[in-house]
Each structure stands twice: as C-alpha cells, then as structure tokens.
Amino acid sequence: MSRLNDTNIKLAHEVIARYPRPKSALIPLLHLSQEQNGYITREAMQHLGELVGVTSAEVYGTASFYEMFKFEPVGKYLINICGTMSCALMGANELMHHAEKKLGVKAGGTTPDGVFTLAHAECQAACTEAPTLQVNYRYRLRVTPADLDRLIDNLRDGKLNDEFPPHGVLSKVRQSIDATRAVGAKAPEDVNESPAWLDGKAAL
C-alpha cells in the first residue's frame, strides 16, 4: 500500500489547510509520500490527487518536473556529487571517478544491495567548500577521496544512522502551527478588505 497512512493523512490535511488553494500543498505532500515509501508510486499520486482535488495525471505532471522526486526505488543513501563549476575547478570529476570505482556503479546507478545510489548533481550552494557532496541532502564539505571511502564504509556499517536518515526523509523537524495562534488561510476571493493594520496608525 503506498497511499498515505492514517498519521500522514492527518498531517496532509493540516498542510493543505495552510494554503489559500489546496493544490499549493502538492509538493509538500509529494515529499511526505516519498518519506513514507522511499519513492513516488502511481497509487500514491492517485491518492494525493484525491486529497488536493486534481487528477493523478496532474500530480505526475508536477512531480515529474522536479529532480528530487523518484519514480522507482533508489538506494537507502543517495550520494549526490556536485559537478558544477566551483566544484569542478577543485576536483569534482576526479572525486566522481573515485566514487564510481569504490561503489562499482556508474553515476546514476544503484549498488546491487540497494544501499547506495550514486548521482551527478548540480550546484549545491556550498561553493567555497568545494568539492562537495550530499548524502540524502545533507552535506559533506571539502571531500577528499579518502573522506569518501570512509564515509561510504561508515554508512554501510550503520555508524551514521543518526546523521543520515534513509532516502525520502528530508527535514526531521516539521512546522506545526497551533490552532489558537494561526491566522488561517482564506481563498483570495474571500478577502476583499485591506489588512487591519493598514489604518494609518501604529499597530502597537
């Protein structure tokens, strides 16, 4: 079953309610679905479509635009090695070759045991710390081939489980808005007045 489970359905409704239009919640819900299942399935897209009121084709239309959504299983650890200019200038290609040899798969491939997927990535916004990589979107900076060997060994031995949750889990902290504190979202057509604080006087 790859529909959202009961806990996640509850979460999904909370997220949807934060937006003036339900479809805005689609990308957050796709992340939630990927967190639950590790990747995005057809059944999941059907379910998300039901939740936000669009067809599953529309869900796929959105999901397929974004690099992070995977439509088939990937390794428990997705290793993205940055190859854009600043990293390339500091040896990213050499690092990638080393990783390919160490893991025995080419960029884009998954190891037969399903633990690692190796991928070429674009700029990771850590350009001064080149070359960089991310494991499940968490950084390792100024990576040498020896660092990479150690990282892969430690990941395989389960020594870094606390730092790197399995692929699909992104932020470990969610935003939660207490109902008594929330202003609440309204559809734009239901708002016709200027905000209360624009009355020409100080708010405090």
Binding site: E67, M85, S86, A125, V173, R181, V191, A203, L204
Partner: protein, 473 residues
C-alpha cells in the same frame, strides 16, 4: 582580523560592519534564546509602534537593493502593487542555486529568526497578509532550522495571530522545493508554489507585484534582502546608508570560490569593495593558490559574463559593473587560475543551464542543448573550427545582437555593456550562452588549439585533373 567558525563552514568574519552576519560568531545563533539576547525582534517591535507606511518609507529611503540577482530596490518593488487589491502575499525566495552562490543557505541555517523578523517587517510595511517561505528542497538542515525557529516564534507570539498583542496578524508558511534551478526565477517560484511545474510566466502581464500568486499582488524577495530589515529597523536609515555608497548602501554577502588561497563567504561593504580586494586582499581570499596567476573570474554567479585581470579594480557597484560588460548577480565570484582548462570550465556551466532549462522557450530548450553538445565535442577533441562559429550562431538565436563582454587590453577588445537582448522569457537560456561567449571571446586560442583542422582537398583530385586545370577552362 579574519576569523572562521566551525559551526558556519565557509563564513569568514572580518573587522567590517556586520548587518546580516552579526550573530554568526555564536554556535547557537539559530536559537530564539540567543536571538532575543542579541537585539532579536527589536526591529519588529519598533516597526509595529509606528504606522505601516512609515516603515515602507524607511525601506525606500534606505535603498535596500534586492540581493537575489537583479538588484532592484525592495522598497520600490513593494510600492508597485496596485491600489486597493487584496489580499497581497509575500513569497520568500530561498531557492538558492545559482552556480557559485552560497549565502542564503548560511543565513537560513545560522540566523533563521532574523529572516523571520525580516518577513514580518515586510508584511507589516507592505500590507501583505500571508507569507510563504520557499526553501530549496536540497537543504535539509536549513529546513530544520527554519522550521524549529518558526515553531518557537509562533509559540512566543512573534508570528501568527495578534503579533506582540497588536492588530498585526500574519502566518508564515514554510514550503520546501524539490529540485529545480529555474524555480529561483520569481514567476516560476510562484508557479511552483501553486503546485505546478516550475515554468516562468511571461512578463507582462505576470509581473508578480500586480499579478502573482493566485493572480494576486505578490512581493517576491530574496532571503538576504529580508535579512537586512531587522538591522535597518533597529539602527535606523541613517546608520544603514552610512555604510557603502549612495547607490549601493549597506553590505552584501559574497562567496569567493575556485582557485584562491582561502575561499570563503564574506559580508563586504557594498559599492566600494573591489574584486581585487576580494580575490587578493589579506582579509578576504588572500590571492591565487600556489602563487599562480589569475586567468579569469566570474563576477556574479554562473550567469554572468567573465572578467579578467583588466577588471580587478571595479567595485561592487552595479552602475560600474554593467557598463564593463557583466553583472553583480547573486554575489558569487568564481576564480580560475592559469592552470584552468577554459573550454572545459565553460562546459560545466553550459551543461548546468542546459540541464536546468524548463523547456518552455524553444531557444533555451534547443539552443542550450545544442551549445552543450557542440562544446562537449570541442572539449573532447572532436570539434572542428566550424563548431566554434556554430556556437556563436546558436547563441545569437538566444541573444540576438551584440552580447556583453569585458574589455581586454591584450586582445584589443572594448567592452560591450550589460544587459543583452533575449528571445526567452527568463535568464536560463542566455545564461547557457554567457560562459561560452565569454570563453570564446577572451580565450579563443584555447578553443582553436583543440579543434581538428579541416583539410581542404580540391574536389577534382580524384579525377586526377591538374591543379591548374581551371585556369585553362
């Protein structure tokens, strides 16, 4: 004295005014406790005790320039919303992904409350009734830090209903992206926030300030831009404009990466700091690695045309960098030393933009791919000299007319000023061409040395006709 901190990798502090990085020295700078102990939410309190339009005037007169790339003044942008159309929204652009750029992520990870306070001040001043904070998908730690900070701020009464007990109420909704460079473009960001494929919209009519999220007036501001507001409101306009120059006041975050001794992220004084300071200055990057010499540098993110040593003395001032043939963009300097393989370096960028093209505009979708394929052929040694011409012709389909480039004394080139003309909606297409054009213009001999020379054989050779046959005919 320059200082670095284990908890803020890349950041280098110096003896300069700090506006957005003032808390980076503290390991716990992201907590509400530390924030409140260091003037946190003071700017907001000050703002709320004055009418909203006065705060807007402050931001206008301080000329807070947008830090996302275009450099448009934030106060002016806020004023472009149509009168009496409600609701209006704030969308925060935290989708930092321009090659070479590393600043917004630091600001989100190290000082999320500062960003939140900036969002609140913007919403108050411009009458924006809901805020969406869009963080790039690949930044798990930034998402965690901002989520934690928002939860704390809601609980403490700084965000949500009746902020600080006043009549000001606004929700800030944390939203994650999912990996698409083009979503950093403001109209694409809005599409993405509506749950669609992140493709840019045509401007006009879709200028976000008039017709943005859900068709409503929407202000899209960069993370660093908003992070300036708490300091501005706490210390006042005069203190802000006392730093930097009249047209580029304040500071800005700049990342220097590549072949320098000490790559780093610096908060520099806007308008006066030069590229020479940044690349060679002891308090900044300290010169080129291994005593090598500078070959070229990208002054403002992967999209910017390249500079060489001839432009080192230009300051961080848009009105000087534009006429010199490039742009300041998002505060990203990438340095190449003499050992750099220029065609291969250009390829990394062209590959990036070709890969990130959303596919909406044909010149970008097709042209970017063509540029990448031809350039790759040249880099791998399979190109011909006709390919070099072809690169320029494909580029002219994306950007017709003269393309900006820097002056070069040795090559006898005079500058072609920024900006360019473009046949695409957004800057992804032209950005695929910029590195190719710069590299070919400034380092043509490196390309020529790589291409196979076409050997011209007279067509009559097979028939064995003498070379002077045409003379007799």
């Amino acid at each position: 004295m320059s200082k670095t901190y284990v908890h803020a990798p890349g950041f280098v502090a110096g003896d300069r005014p700090k506006i957005v990085t003032s808390r980076f020295e503290f390991a716990d700078s992201y907590t509400l406790e530390r924030y409140l102990a260091t003037d946190g939410y003071k700017g907001l309190r000050g703002a709320l005790s004055r009418p909203a339009n006065e705060i807007h005037e402050d931001v206008k007169s301080a000329t807070v320039l947008g830090r996302g790339g275009a450099g448009f003044p934030a106060g002016t942008k806020w004023g472009l919303t149509p009168q009496q159309v409600w609701p209006r929204y704030l969308v925060v652009n935290g989708d930092e992904s321009e090659p070479g750029t590393y600043k917004d992520r630091l600001l989100m990870e190290r000082d999320p409350h500062q960003l939140i306070e900036g969002c609140l001040i913007a919403c108050y001043a411009a009458g924006l009734s809901q805020c969406f904070l869009y963080i790039r998908g690949e930044m798990a730690l930034a998402q965690e830090r901002v989520a934690t900070a928002l939860n704390e701020a809601y609980a403490a009464g700084y965000v949500g209903k009746n902020i600080l007990g006043s009549k000001f109420s606004v929700d800030i909704i944390l939203h994650w992206g999912a990996g698409a460079y083009v979503v950093g473009e403001e109209t694409a960001l809005i599409e993405s926030l509506e749950g669609n494929r992140g493709m840019p919209r045509l401007k006009p009519p879709f200028f976000p300030a008039a017709n943005g999220l859900y068709g409503q007036p929407t202000i899209v501001n960069n993370v660093e831009t908003l992070a300036n507001l708490p300091w501005l409101l706490t210390h006042g306009v005069a203190a802000y404009t006392a730093i930097g120059t009249k047209t580029s006041p304040g500071t800005r975050m700049v990342a220097v990466s590549g072949h320098v001794k000490r790559p780093g992220v610096y908060e520099i004084i806007n308008g006066t700091t030069t590229f020479r300071d940044l690349i060679y200055g002891e308090e900044f990057s300290g010169g080129i690695r291994n005593g090598n010499s500078l070959k070229a540098f990208v002054p403002g993110g992967g999209s910017a045309p390249w500079f060489t040593q001839d432009q080192l003395d230009l300051p961080f001032e848009a009105s000087q960098v534009g006429p010199a043939g490039s742009m300041l963009g998002s505060g990203a300097v990438m340095v190449m030393d003499e050992t750099t393989d220029i065609p291969a370096a250009a390829l990394t960028l062209t590959h990036f933009y070709a890969h990130e093209s959303c596919g909406k505009c044909t010149p970008c979708r097709e042209g970017g791919t063509w540029l990448e394929r031809i350039l790759r052929r040249v880099v791998e040694g399979d190109g011909t000299d006709a390919d070099l011409q072809q690169l320029l012709e494909v580029g002219a389909m994306i950007c017709p007319g003269a393309f900006p480039h820097a002056a070069n004394e040795k090559l006898g080139l005079t500058a072609v000023p920024f900006p360019y003309k473009m046949t695409t909606i957004c800057f992804v297409g032209p950005s695929a061409y910029a590195p190719v054009h710069s590299a070919l213009t400034l380092f043509r001999s490196e390309f020529e040395a790589r291409v196979k020379k076409r050997v011209t054989i007279a067509v009559t050779a097979v028939a064995g006709v003498a070379a002077n046959a045409s003379v007799s005919a």
